[in-house]
Amino acid sequence: MASVATDVLVIGGGAAGIAAAVTARRNGAEAILVEAGPMLGGELLHGLPLAGLYTAQGGRAVGGFADGFLAACARYGSETAPLRDFHARTLVCLDPEAIKVAVIDLTHGAGVKALMYTLVDQVATDGDGRIAGVILRNKAGRTLVRAKIVIDATDGGTVAALADYPPLDTSAEVDRAAPLVFRMAGVDAAAFLEHLAAAPETLAAPAHPAIAADRAAAASGLRDQGRVLAVLDPAAPQMRAAVAAGRMIGSAGAAIAQTSAARRDVVIRVDRPQGVDPARIERAAGIEICAGFLRSALPGFSQAVISAVHPGVPVPFVRPMLGDRVLGRDAGPAGPGVVDTVARGCHGTRGADLSGDGAFDIPLGCMLPRGVRNLLVIGGGLSADPSISEDAAATGTRLALGEAAGTAAALAAGPAPDLRRIDIAGLRRSLRQQGALLEAAR
């Protein structure tokens, strides 16, 4: 078996993994980034808008790497301004086709060694609380990677699970039914937004009075914003009639968001599609019905055509591990005088907790599985209570988690690496210097 050594090995080439690998590299560490599929980008590639960069009220919650990421997307033609959905979130509606190019620019530009089409086969531990090596498998065979620090940025917490680190008790696991996701081009934004203003009952009600007073106010806000972005109410009369008549599948609602103004392209997410399993090839029939409904029922969509279909299952497979801290359960500082916030996330639909600044602190400890010194877990394996794990899995939040993990990894990637012995104040200083946001805006 071939063997290679590196400072930092990042498994998972989605938002978290890209941010982690690039940041580790920028902080002076060698980084290998491993992705199972043929492209870097993960869920960034399928058009769903980025949540977690801004709070529901529009405050900025994530900076640092995310700033550079948005700038790169803008260089490749994407709009990057925050947009309010006037339901529960402030989103950044990026062009996934620009993202494809931007992530290659960022990773290659930083000197990250990316390896696509590659799975993790086995994890070797050394008896001293460290991962000694990770065996990768791809068409060319098996390779042992000896890394000082391993970052697990996979949806399923694969590395932590393979190494048998204890999982988090998730008896209260939230239901993560997969949505249908596809795109349509040729959408007339003005006609669509005028329709919403004339028929605000189409929209889902605002989740909080601070977001919008009522549906009419939300519709008018969306129209003034001038971009396609809307959360549709499954109980709206038009939707219910279409479902009853078999012209639309039943669902828990649908969200529509711009991906490219130039192509008049939007992404559509249909939540909990009834009678359609988004994980199976049967989903094609469901998408055909949804697209037909939009064309026939929604002004602005009459000339729209399908422009992309999500290739797989859009909802992450989540397998949280038990970390030093559990996000959403252990509030407050880690100990007397210890401030260990390394990233921030935003409350979304579920919480609609707008009592504070709309964001929550993420401590380093929820990336550190118990019983191992050199592993950070920042994807679906993050140690987070189900009540908050969906918000922590927002793509924008994963950029922040990745930056924190990559910076911590570079700091710890010396001899006898131990993530619990790094200078947290120094880590936070580095993150701030990179532009990361670690405190509530004043």
Partner: protein, 473 residues
């Protein structure tokens, strides 16, 4: 301590099928659909998240018609194109007035069409599953071990079909093979990309006024004059334009460094409504695509070329002034890796002479098309604008009786492979080998030995199901 997906003690989960197809590209979906519709319990496995392979890239489907414009592939291809058409994603068959007919579809609609056809045939699917091991016993494959994020699984079957493109299963079972030219030369890998909002009228107006930029009339079967070809291309009224490296536009851009060295800038319509075209132009030669590290390392340079070319198009090519970048293919396109040594070898002479055979199970009609590095490309026409038959033995690896192959890993000399590697031909091969696998599982003979299926019975069944085996040039 070593911990793996499956601890050493525990058993693999397992399942058994009549036919297992590995690889869900053009050949694999045809093979799986054909096996399932002929009654076999069929599982289709792919390492990626979805089915369709290069059909989703945006490049046109070559090899469906010969240079004369006769359809030479029917059956599953016809069903797939009809489904694309029903969903509004069939642009049409068109002639490049250079050498070949191509079939143009919307790759995003193709995604839906592929899923619908697999479902209609009753194919079982398993995605994100990588074949880790091939299990053999006395000259037969008994199973494959696949791995995914949740573990390993042993999948056994009576018959196996390798549509991996690289012949991974055949090689895993000990089949002999040749890679590229045998000395490290491979046709280039490509990242296909798309541009939306293209003005076809302006593009055609430009090429009409500057015909030196066009590749036209390369095939001696085309009797029209170059001027008549140009008029034919313009009259077709499609953004199906092949800009050649030797023309003034590309040669100046390549010489000045404005554009990377390439043999071609092939523009193909993919969506009428979105006024969208695909571009087949980027290239990095001599990457061994079975070397994952090398293939991964090709990505930044390919993406650089994509961005370089979209800017070039917008700045220099009339019709693209208002066009916008509309994305890349889902993955790097691979032209050439391994060719498995089968019971028969498709020869260059077979292809160039348009040889017909009694044991033919499908037809190829794409010119011999070997891309080299930089501006280099070898193209040789098939005699008389016709097509050649692919013998069944090219799909049967030597020494492994219950394994069939289809797609670009077929048993062929390198120039012959340069013709047969295209998607239309891959679909014809796939349907043939899938049908053979189903026959090998019929009645009392459930040994799954494809190699024992009489070619006459196979041809009869294929013809009944719409395959085109006879009656064309």
């Amino acid at each position: 301590m070593l911990r793996g997906i499956i601890p050493m003690q525990s058993a693999y989960a397992s399942s058994h099928h009549d036919v297992v197809v590995i690889g869900a590209g053009a050949a694999g979906i045809a093979a799986a659909s054909a096996a399932a519709r002929n009654g076999a319990d069929t599982l289709l496995i792919d390492a990626g998240p979805e089915a369709g392979g290069e059909l989703l890239s945006g490049i046109p489907i070559d090899g469906c018609l010969n240079t004369r414009g006769e359809w030479i592939v029917g059956g599953f291809l016809r069903e797939l194109l009809d489904e694309c058409d029903r969903l509004g994603g069939y642009v049409g068959a068109m002639f490049d007035w250079r050498s070949i007919w191509v079939v143009c579809c919307d790759p995003e609609i193709m995604r839906l069409a592929v899923m619908n056809r697999l479902r209609a045939a009753g194919v079982k699917t398993r995605f994100n599953s990588f074949v880790d091991e091939v299990v053999t016993e006395s000259g037969r494959i008994t199973g494959v071990v696949v791995m995914d994020v949740s573990g390993r699984r042993l999948i056994t079957a009576n018959s196996f079909i390798d549509c991996s493109g690289d012949g991974d299963v055949a090689v895993g079972a000990g089949a002999e093979f040749i890679q590229g030219d045998g000395s490290g030369t491979f046709q280039p890998v490509t990242m296909v990309f798309r541009m939306a909002g293209v003005d076809t009228g302006r593009l055609l107006d430009f090429v009409e006024r500057n015909p030196d930029n066009l590749a036209l009339k390369e095939n001696p079967w085309i009797t029209q004059t170059r001027e008549e070809c140009l008029r034919g291309l313009i009259a077709q009224n499609q953004p199906k334009v092949f800009l050649r490296a030797q023309g003034p536009l590309l040669s100046a851009a390549i010489a000045s460094g404005e554009l990377y060295p390439t043999a071609l800038l092939a523009i193909t319509p993919v969506s009428v409504q979105r006024r969208e075209v695909s571009l087949n132009t980027t290239r990095i030669a001599n990457v061994d695509a079975t070397d994952t590290r090398a293939l991964s390392a090709a990505m930044p340079a390919l993406i650089d070329q994509v961005w370089n070319c979209q800017a070039f198009l917008r700045n220099r090519v009339p019709g693209f002034e208002e066009a916008v970048f509309a994305g890349t293919a889902p993955r790097i396109g691979i032209r050439e890796t391994r060719r498995i040594i089968g019971r028969e070898l498709l020869s260059s002479e077979d292809v160039l002479s348009a040889r017909k055979r009694a044991d033919g199970i499908g037809k190829g009609g794409h010119h011999v098309d070997i891309h080299g590095s930089g501006t280099d490309q070898l193209r040789r026409p098939i005699a008389d604008g016709g097509s050649y038959d692919i013998p069944f033995g090219c799909l049967l690896p030597k020494g492994i009786d219950n394994l069939g192959i289809a797609g670009r890993c077929l048993s062929a000399e390198r120039p012959a492979h340069g013709s047969a590697r295209v998607m239309g031909t891959c679909i014809a091969m796939g349907q043939a080998v899938g049908t053979a696998a189903a026959i090998a599982n019929e009645g009392n003979r459930r040994d799954g030995a494809l190699a024992d299926v009489p070619v006459s019975a196979l041809r009869t069944r294929l013809a009944e199901q719409g395959a085109i085996l006879d009656g064309t040039h």
